[in-house]
Symmetry: C2
Subunit: 191 residues, 2 copies
Amino acid sequence: MVKELREKSGAGMMECKKALTATGGDTDKAVAELRKAGLAAAQKKSSRTTKEGRVEAYIHGEGKIGVLVEVGVETDFVSRGEKFKEFCHDLALQVAASAPRWVRREDVPEAVIAQEREIYAGQAKGKPEQVVEKIVAGKLEKFFRETCLMEQPFVKDPERSIEQLRTDLVNVIRENVEVRRFVRFQLGETE
Amino acid sequence: MVKELREKSGAGMMECKKALTATGGDTDKAVAELRKAGLAAAQKKSSRTTKEGRVEAYIHGEGKIGVLVEVGVETDFVSRGEKFKEFCHDLALQVAASAPRWVRREDVPEAVIAQEREIYAGQAKGKPEQVVEKIVAGKLEKFFRETCLMEQPFVKDPERSIEQLRTDLVNVIRENVEVRRFVRFQLGETE
């Protein structure tokens, strides 16, 4: 059971044992607990500076799509590790497949959000104001999930968002990880 | 002599024979003649649309620098050929090594050119107006050669500019080639 939990959560053996004891052997609950603890631990590291890292490239379809991503991490040693490299590669793959427009929702220009709000409100027209508000908020969340890299479901494992993938990595390598920027070229899109 | 000329100019056998006859066997002159003819032929093709092509990536220094370039060509067949792929790779290498800021001089913003002019004029202050004009024009040419990809000397063969490299390719593959855009990520530069 500890082994299964370790694979599911990426947490250490002692933590998994503790979580299993605390949840009376319920693996699903234990995973949720470990996720919460992992998130808290990752957030604590989020202010640490990431001077090292990697620029990763990915070419899809014989040169039809190209992607660059830049990911920061704290030490040169970790930047050369397999786990970190794998994350960078997965990230580039994600950008190629899902064509996000921004890294995080904070990067979406105010004007774009205002325009989206207007469209959603127009679609819900005639309904009570509170209902419209809820619909707009819900659709805006969906918009962020579709257009912001960190909020997109990971193409190789749609149960996890890219932010969750990042958090999991932080807890494995025990260093802050910062997705800095990406670019995606699709052949002919600028014609 | 024909063989040597073909290697130097990339032109066909018949063209090389003709050029050698016309220049009385002077290889250097013949190369110059062939270059001129090649340039004219390449310019004729410059209005042809380039719907096919490649996005090429290059990573330098274990992920410290990453480059994407997009190059257009007329047919899918040519886009898969070795000569074209080699050009795309050389271009990405060039961008990694020489960090151009724009593709061509037409892409440099007017404000940047105005600012450069001012700096150069300031440096030449006190000299006669005509002399200042000449100095400014000369330094501006140098600025374009340093910052515009197509005008940079090719890192693998500084005798040729990237534009010359493109022209030579056009004359070999007999299709228009368009360098569309590039991007260069250097680890940590946005911090």
